[in-house]
């Protein structure tokens, strides 16, 4: 390493020559393919060429619990759209293996080799922070369906999300819980090794501050932990009115279970990651009274929700969760953007995706602004008799 400056420069040049100097092509040019623009508008739009949509989700390793639902939801959405006719979509699915390395490689492949019109994903915000810089510089619209961290749409003009930011979900569920339960002092428990949960915990603390709710205990754990009795004992001793939890699904079940076992009877309030039927199935009685803020509810009577749940369950043999619902919605949002000008070129999608106003989705009315940020009404649910019900 000592020789970096001299030998390094020579070798760098050599390496460049060896691998071909054709890499620095300008990818940001607004190349437009006339075959991708069709005739008609809106529902009548027909495009002859198959429209390729890339999808990057975590299908294996840690975040596969979410990624497989997203894969299925997105596939279902485009299947329905293809059946409706006019435009034929092809989803090119990549697995980022819950790793930054693979997500970057997957984006590279979709952008340059498959030349997709838009990309849905990735599953985790952590990877989005890296991959979206590539999407932005290549001029490929990217639509996140679970990237809830702060600052993601601000990464560029081509970056959008149809995933309710965690702070919005929490900002809704905490006041709702406060109103319903009369909270004055709470305990906050969060996973401080994970970025998503830590970020959510910061929002939680801000919201609690705004709502004048006192934090009587604050405890942390790590993603891989399996035993939370020691933290919960401290929580128990603080006698909170409610426990606000920011955890990934893997830790949520044991946490709630152990909390109930230890005799914590206070209501437990959580965010986006709680919104899964698997959770209720695993917890059964212990899930009673959980308050969950999120983007979608199986109990909502939003447009098409009942059919979505029925079709999904029939096709995949399991009930959908919020991840599936959001990915499903993404398919329709992209379709909207493409049909607006009947143009599936990247630029057109970018221009139109940022102008979706009040689209009536299974998540309820949803809009995406020019900045790429989503606006939708969060749903606050409470688990009652083993099912999510609207609070």
């Amino acid at each position: 390493m000592r020789l970096k400056s001299t030998t390094g420069a020579v070798l760098a040049a050599a390496a460049l020559l060896a691998t071909g100097a054709c890499v620095s092509e300008d990818t940001n040019e607004a190349s437009s393919d006339s075959a991708l623009s069709g005739s008609g508008t809106g529902a009548d739009c027909t495009i002859d060429e198959t429209v390729k949509i890339g999808a990057v989700f975590s299908l294996t390793e840690a975040a596969a619990f979410a990624g497989t639902y997203q894969q299925e939801g997105l596939a279902l959405g485009f299947e329905e759209l293809n059946a409706a006719g006019g435009i034929t979509y092809e989803v090119i699915q990549e697995d980022d293996k819950t790793s930054v390395e693979d997500s970057v490689a997957a984006f590279g492949k979709l952008i340059d080799r498959d030349e997709v019109s838009a990309i849905v994903g990735p599953t985790l915000s952590n990877m989005a922070f890296t991959t979206y810089t590539d999407a932005e510089s290549a001029g490929v619209p990217a639509l996140g369906v679970s990237t809830t961290a702060e600052g993601i749409p601000e990464m560029g003009d081509y970056i959008f999300r149809a995933s309710l930011p965690e702070e919005v979900a929490l900002a809704a569920s905490i006041p709702a819980a406060k109103e319903a339960l009369g909270l004055t002092k709470v305990a906050v428990l969060y996973d401080n090794a994970d970025e998503f949960t830590t970020s959510a915990a910061n929002t939680i603390k801000d919201v609690l501050n705004d709502e004048n709710i006192e934090i009587v205990a604050e405890e942390t754990f790590e993603t891989a932990d399996t035993d939370f009795a020691a933290q919960l004992t401290s929580v128990l001793e603080a006698e909170p009115d409610a426990v606000i939890l920011s955890a990934l699904p893997g830790a949520t079940v044991p946490l709630v279970k152990q909390a109930r076992n230890l005799g914590i009877e206070a209501p437990i309030v959580g965010g986006n990651a709680f919104n899964s039927p698997v959770l209720v199935g695993a917890l059964e009685d212990a899930s009673e009274g959980l308050i969950v803020g999120g983007a979608w509810s199986a109990a909502s009577d939003t447009t098409g929700n009942a059919e979505f749940i029925a079709n999904y369950t029939e096709k995949y043999g399991r009930a959908p969760d919020q991840f599936a619902a959001q990915a499903y919605t993404a398919a329709y949002l992209l379709d909207q953007a493409i049909r607006a000008d009947c143009d599936a070129n990247r630029e057109a999608i970018k221009d139109n995706l940022g102008q979706i106003l009040e689209y009536d989705s299974i998540l309820g009315p949803i809009s995406i602004d020019e900045g790429g940020e989503v606006t939708q009404e969060p749903v606050v649910q409470i688990v009652h008799d083993g099912a999510f019900t609207l609070l």
Binding site: T226, A230, S234, G250, P254
Partner: protein, 292 residues
């Protein structure tokens, strides 16, 4: 405080259960079997599936799971370790081959069970809460602790008093001498793996029962703490693993109680590091520091 001590003991008993299978193989054969966490995870999934399909009571379930585990152990040895025997990089290569095999096992679990965590039916093992001298304990915790003790005692008895145990100790100390005495080293090796993996799968199923669910990362989540436990206890020392598991559990609980939960994860490794530097035999071990 008393509650926290109890919390520590219960958490530690799970650590110990994971670690004894691990340390057994190392003690007898000097193999660090990194497929153990995957087998542990498989134990949880198999336990859940068998319980769901057959509705057999829990005291029959665990022996059934152990049987699967024993089979898995024999396969791990056959696939990942036996082909390497006698090679001069046997131990390095064994680490990698067992990592690879562990990855294969996890992939197979995903193929069979998908990505959703699996769980026992809630009424499979009705949980009950007891309060003794102000300390709350659940039936699952008591069963876990009890089973951990029974398995430990059983294993200790097996190793000290049975012919298989004697053969295992003979192989551990001097494989050549054991061979000369007519010990079937191949069978003892397979037996050690079978035993280790049987313990691992039972521990996995037990942890799943405790947690209320099992994901594919169940074993990976406990792997590093498992390393800490086997070193603290002294590599190859069964009682050491048990004691170290409990010591670690209690140390973590007390850290949370007295300091701050953010430092909990530091405890295991700081303790481990200190012990390795100051007393490489481990707190309780008498095994010599050996080459791998």
């Amino acid at each position: 405080m008393l509650q926290q001590l109890a919390n520590g003991v219960f958490a530690g008993s799970i650590y110990a259960l994971f670690a004894i299978g691990f340390t057994l193989v190392f003690g007898v054969l000097r193999h660090l079997n990194l497929a153990h966490p995957a087998v542990f995870t498989a134990g949880a999934f198999i336990g859940i599936e068998v319980a769901a399909r057959t509705a057999i009571p829990i005291w029959i379930l665990f022996p059934v799971v152990a049987l699967f585990g024993a089979l898995a152990g024999v396969l791990v040895e056959r696939i990942a370790f036996r082909p390497l025997r006698g090679r001069d990089d046997e131990h390095f290569a064994g680490l990698i081959s067992s990592v690879a095999l562990g990855g294969v096992v996890i992939a197979l679990l995903q193929a069979r069970y998908g990505t959703d965590p699996q769980h026992f039916a809630a009424d499979y093992f009705p949980n009950r809460l007891f309060e003794v001298a102000g300390v709350r304990v659940t039936l699952t915790q008591l069963v876990t602790l009890g089973l951990a003790l029974v398995l430990m005692l059983g294993l200790a008895w097996l190793v000290s008093a049975t012919s298989l145990g004697r053969s295992m100790r003979a192989v551990a100390e001097n494989p050549t001498a054991a061979k000369v005495l007519g010990v079937n080293v191949g069978r003892v090796t397979a037996g050690t793996y079978a035993l280790s993996s049987a313990l691992g799968t039972v521990a996995g199923a037990l942890l799943a029962l405790n947690l209320g669910q099992a994901g594919r990362d169940l074993g990976a989540s406990i792997e590093l703490v498992g390393f800490a436990v086997i070193i603290l206890g002294g590599l190859g020392s069964l009682w050491g693993a048990m004691a170290a598991g409990v010591v670690l559990g209690v140390a973590e609980a007390l850290t949370i109680h007295l300091f701050d939960s953010t430092w909990k994860s530091m405890v295991a490794f700081a303790l481990l590091f200190a012990v390795l530097v100051l007393r490489p035999r481990g707190l309780f071990g008498h095994v010599k520091v050996r080459e791998v």
